[in-house]
């Protein structure tokens, strides 16, 4: 029987430790840095949930999505946070033939009442091929669209690693890895990066191939700058340099792929560790993982001009990290970066705060976790100067958790 669903065995996992988070907000002093409050919120996600996304809409309302599993049935649901209370979960879609993967998982986008969400469905029995299916809620139609496959190639191949970004009240930029060319010829071909703009009911308005050769299994990320949407991804040169590249959609055209920094990380393999971009007007932040010379690092670059130029890399973590980064930009212009610290047996989800000039302001432990793939990728989002963090607690039966972090003065 194919593996599509996971009912993980967690007997190896240590008890989850989350000191101080089960009470109300507690202001704590981190090591030689600023104050912060960190509060574990209740979770609307049930047991056997994972693969969370936490996003905000244009009004600053927080939404959480997750995948729950019961036997072979996988279900994508979401909930909205209002004054520390979650709305009753609403199911977007479910199926018994989904491709449920710890690194490649559903995206949720909410803007002006319109919602877009995707999941991955196996496209053929006995293969490793899957399609991106999506459904769209239109506030004007007051209904969800029929599920549709986002890509139109009709090729049985791998499609995934989606990112979504509202571009206006009615449309969403969706970026994904598209394996249509991997299935050409006898050998495994090249993974492409594609993007499209979809209206509120999921109709394709525009579609492009952004890059004809990218890393096969890393997440994409997108953000809105003053100059238009920016997309970041792990590129792949002909000689297997797999550094992070960017493209921006300005004045109706995409800029050519450009590295944000030349790590010169040459690998003939999959890091499964995509970059994360956030933006506020002209300010852009990109965080990413690299491991040149077998030295794992998390780095951050900042741009003051919508991605026309970037700072030299700022080292976020080195040595004891397996990446899995996230980034979000606060109203203050400060940048929060989430990453995994593997320096001790109990792996930690860390949140580092940087000034708009790249100075480290704070560095806190959000939760203890496991380096296991089952713990997935923590996701962060900010509203104002408040950061929300979601992750999967795999200490027992897996369950999505959410915490809220407010940084105090440095």
């Amino acid at each position: 029987m194919r593996k599509i669903f996971h009912t993980p065995k967690y007997s190896l996992f240590v008890p989850f430790l989350f000191a101080g988070l089960c009470s109300n907000a507690v202001f704590s002093a981190s090591e030689q840095l600023g104050n912060y409050s960190l509060k574990l919120l209740s979770s609307p996600a049930p047991l056997n949930s994972s693969l969370s996304r936490i996003v905000s809409d244009e009004l600053g309302q927080i939404y959480l999505s997750w995948v729950s599993q019961e036997g072979e049935l996988a279900r994508l649901a979401f909930s909205k946070l209002t004054e520390d209370e979650w709305s009753s979960p609403r199911v977007i879609s479910e199926g018994t033939d989904w491709f449920v993967n710890w690194a490649d998982f559903p995206f949720l986008s909410v803007n002006a009442g319109n919602i877009a969400a995707h999941w991955l469905r196996m496209s053929a029995e006995g293969t490793y091929d899957y399609d991106i299916e999506a459904s769209f809620y239109s506030v004007n139609e007051r209904s969800w669209s029929e599920a549709r496959v986002l890509h139109t190639d009709g090729v049985s191949a791998e499609h995934g690693f989606v990112s979504m970004l509202p571009v206006d009240d009615e449309s969403t930029l969706i970026t994904w890895l598209d394996g249509r060319n991997t299935a050409v010829g006898d050998e495994y071909g090249e993974m492409t990066l594609r993007a499209g703009i979809f209206d509120a009911m999921g109709k394709t308005l525009k579609e492009w191939e952004l890059d004809h050769r990218v890393c096969e299994c890393c997440q994409t990320s997108s953000a809105m700058t003053a100059m238009g949407p920016i997309v970041v991804y792990r590129d792949r040169s002909v000689d297997e340099i797999r550094d992070i590249s960017m493209q921006r959609y300005s004045d109706g055209e995409w800029t050519a792929p450009r590295p944000i920094h030349s790590d010169n990380w040459r690998i003939a393999g999959c890091p499964v560790n995509g970059p994360s971009v956030s933006a506020k007007e002209e300010q852009v932040a990109v965080a990413w993982f690299t491991a040149k010379d077998d030295t794992p690092k998390v780095q951050l670059v900042l741009s003051p001009d919508s991605g026309d130029s970037f700072s030299a890399p700022i080292l976020v973590a080195s040595g004891d990290t397996n990446g899995r980064v996230g980034t979000t930009m606060l109203d203050s212009g400060e940048v929060a970066v989430s990453w995994i610290d593997t320096s001790e047996a109990d792996t930690k989800i860390m949140l580092s705060l940087f000034s708009s000039a790249g100075e480290l302001l704070n560095n806190i432990e959000v939760a203890q976790t496991r380096a296991s793939r089952r713990s997935g990728f923590p996701i962060i989002e900010s509203v104002g100067d408040t950061v929300y963090v979601s992750w999967t607690d795999v200490s027992d039966t897996p369950q999505v958790k959410v915490a809220r972090v407010v940084f105090g003065p440095s």
Binding site: L12, W102, Y128, E240, A268, G269, V272, A291
Partner: protein, 140 residues
């Protein structure tokens, strides 16, 4: 037809180890979603067969840490013919999970990491590493 016959000669116990503890191990991390992993599996199958009477064993690790039953199903579908370790066996190796897939470790009989091979490997890559480790490889 050219046939490669391998004999890996170890410094101490030259051939035909009596116990598993005396074996060197080639530990290949794989995942079903990793295309380069799938591509190199037939090579490891072939090499595993060719090394079967030597002191080198090839074992696999499902990077995704699926439950055992699921892991064995996937290994079967991928056509993996060498043993796949249990989660408990993987923990005993005390290896840092790889940052890149595929990754292959060569472990000494005392469980020390003798080589870490990142990315897709060829048979020549593996044999070259064994030779660099002083494990004489004969072929004809």
């Amino acid at each position: 037809m050219f046939q490669l016959i391998l004999a890996v000669l170890l410094p101490l116990s030259i051939y035909g180890a009596e116990t598993e503890e005396a074996n060197w191990r080639i530990v290949n991390y794989w995942s079903e979603w990793c295309a380069p992993c799938r591509i190199e599996i037939p090579m490891f199958n072939e090499l595993s067969e060719q090394l079967s009477s030597s002191n080198v064993r090839i074992v696999g690790v499902n990077f995704d840490e699926d439950p055992r039953e699921v892991t064995l199903d996937i290994a079967d579908e991928l056509g993996i013919e060498f043993p796949t370790l249990t989660l408990e066996q993987v923990e005993e190796l005390d290896l840092r999970p790889p940052d890149i897939m595929p990754t292959t470790y060569i472990l000494s009989p005392t469980n020390e990491v003798a080589a870490k091979l990142i990315g897709m490997q060829s048979k020549a890559d593996i044999l070259g590493q064994l030779m660099q480790l002083g494990l004489t490889v004969q072929s004809n």
